[in-house]
C-alpha cells in the first residue's frame, strides 16, 4: 500500500554528529519551537585560503 506522508521542514538530524548539526537546521528548529529566539541571520566569511 502506498504510504503518503506530510513532510516537515525539519531535517532529520538523528544520525548527524552533534558537531556537524548545520546552523541552518538549528535556525529552522528555533523558528519552529522558540520563534522568539531567531536572530538576524549572520553572514559568514569565505575565509582566506592560506590561513586558518
Amino acid at each position: 500500500m502506498t504510504q503518503f506522508n506530510v513532510a516537515s521542514n525539519v531535517t532529520d538530524l538523528r544520525d548527524v554528529p552533534l558537531s556537524l548539526v548545520p546552523t541552518a537546521d538549528v535556525d529552522r528548529i528555533l523558528g519552529r519551537v522558540l520563534p522568539e529566539t531567531v536572530a538576524v541571520e549572520s553572514v559568514s566569511v569565505a575565509a582566506f585560503n592560506s590561513s586558518i
Partner: protein
Amino acid sequence: MNGPFVPFRQFVLKVHSRCDLACDHCYVYEHADQSWQVRPKVISDETATWSASRIAEHVKRHGLERVHIVLHGGEPLLAGRDRLRRIIAELRGHLDALCDLDLRVHTNGVLLDDRYLDVFAEYDVKVGVSLDGDRVANDRHRRYADGRSSYDRVIRAVELLSRRREVYAGLLCTIDVANDPLAVYRALSDLNPPRIDFLLPHATWDTPPPRPSETAYADWLIRIFDAWLDEGARVPVRMFESILRTSRGESSLTESLGLEPADLVVIETDGAYEQADSLKVAFDGAPSTGLNVVSDDLDTVAAHTGILARQQGLGGLCDTCRACPVVDSCGGGLYAHRYRTGSAFANPSVYSADLLKLITHVRHRTAMPAHALPYETIEALACGYGDDHDMEHLLAGQRTLRRGLLAGVHAQRSAAEGWDLLTRLDAEHRPAVDAVLDHPYVREWAARCLTGGGSPGYLANIAAAAAVRAGVDAEITLQDVDGVFHLPTLGAFEATSGADGRLLVKDERFTLARTPDAVWHPVRKIETGGFTVILEDTDPHRHCHGHRAAGRLSEEEAGAWQRMFTEAWSLIESQYPRYAPGLRAALSTVVPLAPPEGGDVSSAARHAFGSVAIALPKDPATLALLLMHEFQHVKLGAVLDMVDLYDQGHSGLYYAPWRPDLRPLEGLLQGTYAHLAVSDFWRVRRDSVPGDTEVQFALWRKHTADAIDSLNGSQALTPLGMRFVAGMRRSVEPWLAEPVADEAIAHAAELARRHRAASGAR
C-alpha cells in the same frame, strides 16, 4: 561588471616577505610571480600605520561590524616580537572602537615560543600553523634551505598552542597525494587542533599538479572524509564543512569553494595592495593592482577590475562550470586554479574533476532527509489516539529537535568542556548520548539557555550522564543548578557548601572528587506490567509546569505513587485500550507536583515531550484521567513541533469552556484535543460508576464539540489543520449520539451556561 558594491572585510597584511623555511611547494617563492624579490623584507611602522588607518577608514565608511585581518608572510614571526606587538597594537588601536576585529597570524611555527604567544594572548590574536601531516608527509616539502627537517620544531609549536587554546586557530595542511591520507589525517587530528584545513597545492592548467590518476586528489580526500564522518567529525575540517554548508545553500568557510563574492585584499610589506596572493601561481604580476595604502583608499581598490571579477558569483564562471550540478559548492574552485594562458581565468579549475567527485561523494554520504508524518499517523492522532508506531514518528522528531537545540546552545552560549566530552561520546557511544538527550527536561534546559536564562554549563552534566551510561571514564565539572549537581536520567548530588562539582567517572562508578560523601539521590522508577516511567523528583528543570513541583519524595510517598500508578495503568489498559499503546511508547516521565489546596492539578510542558506533571490525586481513576488528559497535550505539542496546523500569525482569541480567560488558537486547539480524551474517559467511566460521571460525559462531549466548531470557524487552520480537526470531530460525533439521561444533559447544559456567563464570552 555590474553588481552591488562589496566592501572588503578580510585583509591579509604581509608583515615579512621572506621565510626561514624553503618549502618547495610554496606559492610565494616557487611559482610564476617573483615580486617578493623587490619587496622590503619587513613592513615598516609607517606602512603598518597607513594600513591600519586605511582599514579603519573603510570600516567607518561602510559601517562594517566585523573585519578579519591575517598577519601573513613569508614568515610573519621573522618580523620579530617587538615589531609584531607594535603592528598588532596599531591595528587594535585603530579598529577596536569601530568594529569587532578578528585578528590572526599564520606561521610555519618554527620560531613560535611562549613569548610570542604572550603577545598574541595579550592582544587576542589567533594563531594558525602550517603542518603537512606526520613526519614523513611534512618533511616531503617543509624543510630548511639546507635540507633539515622542520617537523620537530613545528610539533613543539603545536604543543605550546595546545596548552594555550585561547589563541589556537588550527592547522593548515597542503596535500601531497604521495602521502598516506589517513596517516596525514590521524597525525593532524591526534594533535586535537580547533580546526584543520586541507589545501589543494596551487596549480594552473599551464602548470598542473602531480596527478598519478585522473581524480587522485578527490580519492585522497574522500578517504579522509569517510574516516572523519565515521568518527563523528570531531575535529572541524574547513574544506568538508564548506562543502556541507554550500550543499545546503549556506555560505562557504573558504574562498576556495562556494560562490560568495571575494571580499579580500592583500597589503604587501611595501604597502602595495594586491589581489588574493594565490594568483602568484598564474603569471608574474598577476595579483598586482598598482595601488598603495599611502596613495589609495580601499574603495579605489574595490573598484579594480581584478577584484570585481571575483565578485560575479555564478555569472563570473565559464559555461562548463555554470552547467555543473555541484557549482554551488565548488564555485569554480580557487580562482587562481582556473588559469590557462590564452583564456586566462575563464576555465574550470585544474582540480575540476576532483572537486566534482569529492563534492558528489560528500553529498551522497550526507544526504539528509526531512522528517515526515504519515497520513495514517496524522489520522490516528487526530482521532485522539496513536499507537507505538505513530509515537515512533513523534519520538524521532523530538530527538532531532533536542540535538538541534543542543547545537544551538553550544553555538550561542559556549560550554566547551561539556561539548567536547559530549561530541566525543556522540561519535563513539551514540546510544548512551541518545538515552540522556531523550530525557524530557534536556529540551527544557536548552530552551531556557536559548531564551537568555538557564545554565549553559549544565551541558557538562548532560555529557557526564552520557559518560556514566556509556561506561567511559571521564572527569568533568558539573554545574550546580538550584542546589544540586544533577545528572539527567540518573539522579542528583546535593550541592553542599564548598562542593565544586568535579565529577570522576571511572570503571562505571561516579563520585564527586572532593566531596565523596555528598548525598546522592538516584532517580526512582515506577513500573507495572512491563511499563516503566521515571518518577522525576531530582531534575531542577522540572519546575516548568506552572505548578509547584514536589521536592524529593520520601520512600513512603514514592510507594504511594507506585501503588496508585499500578491501579491507574490497569484501568487504562482495560478500559481505555486505545490510549495505552501511545502512553506505553512515549510517556517516559512523571513529575510529582506539590499537593494543591483543593482539587487536582496536572500539567504538560511543551518542551518536555514524554513527561507529565501531576499531584498525586485521591484515587487511581483520577490519575488515569490526568495521565490521559496531559498526554494529549504531549502528543499534540509534538505534532505542532513538526508541522503547521494553523496560521502562526493569527491573533484571534476564543472562548474555551475549560478556562476562565479567552485563549489564542493554539490554546483552544490544545484544550480541545485534551478534552477529547476527557470526554472519552467519562463516556466509558459512566458505565461502571453511575452518577456524576453521566453529567461529566454530557458536559465534556458538548464542550469539545463546541470547541471544534470554534476551531473550524477560525478561518485560520491550515489544510492539514482542517484535516486534523476533522479527525477530532469524527471521534466526538458518535459520542454526541450516545443516549444520556435528560437530567444529566440539563445539568451539564446549566454548568456550561454558567461557565460561559462567568467568562464574559458571548
